[in-house]
């Protein structure tokens, strides 16, 4: 007959310690892996908007970013933006240029699509709709969350690429065509993948969907 040996108090403490350590390790692993754990996801259905016609929902890896568009500030820029959103053109397009806490840029429809990603050319692609004129005359405060159309070095070269700034950028006024502002979920954009040594991203995050609310 095997004699039952009772665990001593110190053995019990070690056991409890090991179990706690295991749980903590496992928990931490999931917390670290889930980068979206502490950011709030917004459901646009639960929000009342003043101008629902001008609301666009950008779905990114951590959830919904709610953007209000300003057609009065940049009529042509917003028109182009809505045209592309309504044709689902931005779905599966990479955030190819990300500067931590400063800006995220996406919208290269030619070289930034998930299945046709071209690292050598990303950022230079076109939409096929042609370029539009810069609309930089109206006053606009480029504060955190502002959305603007990207362009080449020259004015009047806006097409499909857009950026969202993650900090105030007063020098952007009069330089870039503003199209709107994030009204909910700007913190979700801080979770977009970035690289320490480059503005351009290897294996970038993608836009899941981009839709108008109505």
């Amino acid at each position: 007959m095997i004699k039952k040996i009772k665990a001593s108090t110190s053995e019990k403490i070690i056991l409890i310690f090991l179990v706690t350590l295991f749980i903590l390790t496992l928990g931490t692993y999931f917390v670290i892996k889930n980068e979206c754990l502490f950011v709030k996801n917004f459901d646009p259905k639960n929000i009342n908007f003043k101008n629902p016609k001008n609301i666009a929902i950008l779905n990114v890896p951590c959830g919904n970013v709610v953007i209000e568009l300003y057609p009065k500030v940049s009529p042509n820029g917003v028109k182009r933006f809505i045209t592309l959103i309504q044709s689902n053109a931005y779905d599966d397009v990479a955030f190819h240029r990300v500067i931590k806490n400063r800006l995220v840029q996406a919208g290269d429809l030619e070289f930034g699509k998930k299945d046709f990603l071209d690292y050598g050319k990303i950022g230079t692609g076109k939409s096929g709709l042609g370029t539009i004129k810069s609309e930089i005359e109206n006053e606009f405060n480029y504060v955190k969350g502002s959305v603007g159309l990207a362009r080449t070095f020259k004015n009047d070269t806006e097409d499909s690429q857009f950026f969202i700034i993650l900090q105030d950028e007063p020098l952007f006024e009069g330089e870039y065509t503003p199209v709107g502002k994030v009204i909910y979920g700007v913190e979700l954009l801080n979770k977009i993948k970035y690289q320490r040594h480059s503005e351009y991203i290897l294996r970038p995050d993608f836009i899941s969907t981009f839709r108008m609310l109505n």
Partner: protein
Amino acid sequence: MNLFRAILLLIIFITPLRANTIYNLIKIPNLKIYEINTKNKLKYLYAISSFRLGVQKNIVCLSSNKKDLEKKYKTIYKSLSRYSYDYLKKINLKYIVLCENLSISGINTAGIPDNIMKTLILDIKFNEDYFERVIHHEVFHIVNDQHKKLFNESEWIKFNSSEFKYAKCSICTEKLGLETYKKTNGFFTEYSKSTASEDMAEVYSHIIFLNTKEINQIRKLDSILDNKISYIENKIKKIDTSFNF
């Protein structure tokens, strides 16, 4: 081709990140905002440390001393405030970079205009006696670069006497004096005699800097300068009809 792409990608991904808004906009490093809330929307920036520019890095300017900067900013702001937002837009000038001991290939210069970058770099340590007028001189170079077709050098040369010839370039001559002549004889300064475009810039800066009475006096006494002043005034009016000299 693939190897080339791989190398290119490697360079892109290991290059240190220069995530600076000002650098991205005007391609000049080491700048900070000095003042951006101005009536004519000019953005004043200053050098926090020295910078080098150009393909051969031959443009050099040093960081600005705070005391000098505060003092000179007032003068620069006052001088440039006479230009309206509309005029500045038409000539493509938006950023004023303030730094010290500006030089090109080792030769000191008061300013470097760049209409493509919408930028005018100004040396705040430039000779006090001419500093205010020289600001307008440099503004003219922006105007001239932006509206090249408007300012015809062949037409301009005809205003001078037939024996006179400009130098081949503004730095291939000893004629660098900026003091306004008492007896003008067709030129405001010695530097006016260097090249046609420098002459135009000197005429422009004097029209802006001197008062109407002084200009009218010069016009009466010097027919060549009278023609040159009229030429510049007409061309500027073509750029901006509401411009007031």
